[in-house]
């Protein structure tokens, strides 16, 4: 199971890298989304995918899934939500002000407006 997840995460990272190297700003933001998906799945996988009950004490199970990676993922998810929302609004503002979403044309002249 971990092997399968490793391949999936690898494909996610690959797609994210490809998208982030493109010219359009929206494709880059889609790439950051895929990158954070990959990172979150990686925490889950690295915490171990052994069989066990959901980490709820009411289940009275023999073994539980490791609760720590789940808490880490939850934290990382809300942080990347916040950053992505900010990034999207920034891209919108930049499109209004600069009139382009092409990263090549956002270079600007050396040290001025």
């Amino acid at each position: 199971m971990e092997i399968l997840m490793a391949f999936l995460i690898g494909i996610l990272f690959m797609s994210a890298t490809y998208l982030m190297l493109s010219k359009s700003l929206l494709r880059i933001i889609v790439g950051t989304g895929l990158l954070s998906h990959g990172a979150h799945l990686l925490i889950l996988t690295m915490g171990g995918l052994k069989r066990g009950a959901a980490p709820l004490l009411g289940q009275h199970a023999e073994a539980y899934a490791d609760p720590l990676p789940q808490a880490l993922i939850l934290t990382a998810i809300v942080i990347s939500f916040g950053v992505t929302a900010f990034f999207l609004v920034l891209a919108y503002r930049a499109y209004q002000e600069l009139g382009t979403d092409n990263m090549d044309r956002m270079r600007g002249k050396e040290g001025n407006e």
């Binding site: 990686l42 880490l72 920034l90 503002r93 956002m106």
Partner: protein
């Protein structure tokens, strides 16, 4: 008593929250922010004294025992850095009052400023690797807002690049923590260190060490990963630039120092050898940038990169003396970079340009500004009675003792070029015949000069009081070079 550690984190948090409610009432915002940043300086000073007298202070949040809860740890290094951060924050705040302008002040400038300080102080104090990630994000999120606040074209453009680089490096941080967790199964820094020394750093831990170097190297702008810094730091107004240049990269440097002295010290031939090579290249590219440009902001920005290289060269040498030198140089550099960025903020405000070719003769009208800049420039280069000297001497001497003549030589030579780059500013901007500058409004240069002048005075005193400060600094270096002290303080039975 122990809950003292949390005050430098708690005070900016509460201040930031309170200030949100007064966003339109600027006098009240200024009053509250001055009072609370003074309180922050006092609490940080008190914490540093406590650490000096009673050794490392730890605090288990909500009384959970050490490896299971989040632990805040304040050793001498973090206490000193928190104190320096608080002083610089106060200076930048006072400078902001006269320079930042109403349109930014009424849109949450001060709350975000305090959230930035919260993130920095938290990152210096935490004893948990994931908590460090969270404080990094607090700091970065605040820095995105400070960078873009005002919404000019150059700020929008550069913020996009800055966010993109930091989103990637944050994802890499999460990945690195995930790998480390799968190897050692814990997140508490002292416990990680203990577990790594039990398994004796196998190959996979070395890979993770390089991964951490990649992550913190992006934050701290080391050689192949510094590409984002010159553009991003060019965009914001002067006090924000001073906060960024003095504090943000230093958090990355601190994290490299912490992880490479606490976790990954078993296979130093590979990891520290890599760090050494990268730090030397960092110095070289920084120096090349500093002498290449004729733009005041760009010159100081590339000097930030040089300083990162010098500090990390001391860390890579990994003797107690070189670590003491690094700590000395780190604190010196935070103070003097803040002073220099604030000073060139005044220069840019007076002349309306940042190209040194369009300036000249400012010393006739602004002699105090000129001499403050001169002293700050000498302190940056490390002229003996001033602050940059002691740290560099220790770094160079331990580099020579460990047989790294090339590295030590480049550190020495870099001082010369750094001095050349800042003297180029001094000669072109202050000497020569005065020129007429188009000014829409008079610049309150006397008031603005107060904050950088006080910081420069600190730098001078820091240089003169080297002998008195040495026991404190060597205490920090002793903890860094003996991880057992740190581990025992955190995981006490």
């Amino acid at each position: 008593m122990n809950s003292l550690i949390i005050l430098p984190i708690l005070i900016p948090l509460l201040t930031g929250i309170i200030l949100i409610f007064f966003s339109k009432n600027i006098p009240v915002q200024k009053l509250i922010s001055v009072i609370s940043s003074l309180l922050m300086v006092l609490s940080a000073l008190y914490l540093a004294v406590a650490v000096y007298q009673d050794g490392i202070q730890t605090m288990n949040l909500s009384n959970w025992e050490a490896p299971f809860g989040i632990t805040l740890v304040s050793d001498m290094l973090s206490a000193l850095l928190v104190l320096t951060t608080s002083v610089i924050a106060l200076a930048c705040l006072l400078y902001s009052f006269r320079s930042i302008g109403k349109e930014r002040e009424s849109f949450f400038y001060y709350p975000v400023f305090f959230f930035l300080v919260l993130g920095i102080n938290g990152a210096f104090t935490t004893g948990d690797i994931f908590n460090l990630f969270v404080f990094f994000e607090v700091m970065l999120m605040a820095s995105y807002v400070l960078l873009v606040l005002g919404g000019t074209k150059i700020q929008l453009r550069e913020t996009i690049k800055y966010i993109l680089v930091n989103v990637i490096s944050s994802a890499l941080f999460v990945i690195a923590v995930a790998y480390l967790y799968s190897v050692v199964g814990t997140l508490n820094m002292a416990h990680i260190s203990e577990r790594i020394s039990q398994i004796g750093q196998p190959g996979i831990v070395t890979v993770i060490a390089v991964f951490f170097l990649l992550v913190f190297g992006i934050k701290g702008a080391i050689f192949p990963l510094y590409f984002w810094l010159p553009g991003s730091y060019y965009a914001p107004p002067a006090p924000v630039m001073a906060m960024f240049g003095a504090l943000l990269t230093k958090v990355g440097v601190y994290s490299i120092t912490r992880t490479y002295t606490l976790f990954f010290y078993h296979d130093t031939g590979y990891t520290h050898g890599l760090l050494e090579i990268l730090s030397i290249f960092t110095i070289i590219v920084g120096v090349i940038g500093a002498i290449a440009y004729s733009d005041v902001k760009k010159i100081i920005i590339y000097n930030v990169i040089v300083a990162v290289g010098v500090i990390l060269f001391g860390v890579a040498t990994l003797t107690e003396e070189s670590l003491a030198g690094s700590v000395f140089y780190l604190i010196h550099d935070m103070i003097i970079k803040a002073a220099l960025f604030l000073l060139i903020g005044i220069i840019v405000k007076i002349t309306g340009t940042s190209s040194i070719k369009k300036m000249g003769g400012l010393i006739h009208q602004y002699p105090a500004l000129a001499w403050t800049f001169f002293i700050a420039a000498l302190a940056l280069a490390g002229i003996p009675p001033l602050s940059g000297f002691a740290g560099k001497v220790l770094i160079v001497r331990s580099g020579l003792e460990s047989g790294n003549y090339w590295g030590a030589g480049i550190v020495l030579l870099s001082s010369l070029f750094v001095l050349f780059s800042v003297m180029k500013i001094f000669i072109n901007v202050f000497w020569g015949s005065p020129r007429a500058y188009r000014q829409q409004e008079p610049v309150p240069a006397k008031w603005l000069l107060a904050a950088p002048a006080v910081l420069t005075a600190f730098a001078v005193l820091y240089g003169l009081g080297t002998e008195a400060l040495y026991p404190i600094i060597s205490l920090a270096a002793e903890t860094l070079s003996n991880p057992e002290i740190y581990i025992n303080a955190v995981l006490k039975e």
